[in-house]
């Protein structure tokens, strides 16, 4: 496919030892992909606001839409993303659906990032 020892940057590394060492410690490709997907879900203003809200109280779709001053359908679409990522769970009571965080770890991830923000970085 390509040369192994060509002198150009695009083809071979400068510090082979460092590259080899890091390569050996790399998590599985699939794990890093999943991890990126997880952070991607946190990486949207609407979803992070929903996650914070649900960390404070169980809420129905309608309440979330009102709180964030957004359309109900927009909230529903984002709740679906959060549901697929297993970040939220829900229970139905009549026609009202109540959402909450799936587990405590989700708040921990939020807090870890929030702490970083507060440090003024």
């Amino acid at each position: 496919m390509q040369d192994q020892q060509a002198p150009h940057c695009d083809v071979s590394a400068i510090h082979t030892d460092v590259v080899d060492q890091v390569r050996d410690s790399m998590p599985l490709e699939e794990e890093l992909f999943t991890l990126a997907e997880l952070f991607k879900v946190f990486g949207d203003t609407t979803r992070i606001r929903i996650l914070y809200a649900l960390s404070q109280a169980e809420m129905c779709v309608c309440d979330i839409a009102f709180l964030l001053d957004m359309k109900q359908s927009a909230i529903s679409h984002q709740l679906r993303v959060l549901k697929q990522a297993k970040l939220v769970k829900f229970r139905k009571e009549g026609r009202v659906v109540y959402y909450s965080l799936d587990d405590d770890h989700i708040k921990a991830i939020f807090d870890q990032g929030y702490q970083h923000i507060l440090e003024g970085k």
Copy 2:
């Protein structure tokens, strides 16, 4: 702009008390925006792999490109994003630029997410 007490979901909340309580505890809009921006940077496979690599060793652009089997320009572009987010710092040695994580907290954020992944969620 709109009614305050209309019976429709899109216009008013169902549980006013819960909404009010959550609203009072909400972080500043700007903080949540910045937090989402932070997670967004973590939310890309290329960037998360770069961040992990740099958590293991200081590396130059060329080495990172080789390690991840990607074009040098793609790595440079992503390093710029990481630089702007203040997640990485760099030092120049001749024409070689060595990148490393800006502080330990960045690895902590990575780990918090990684732990969540490993728990099979």
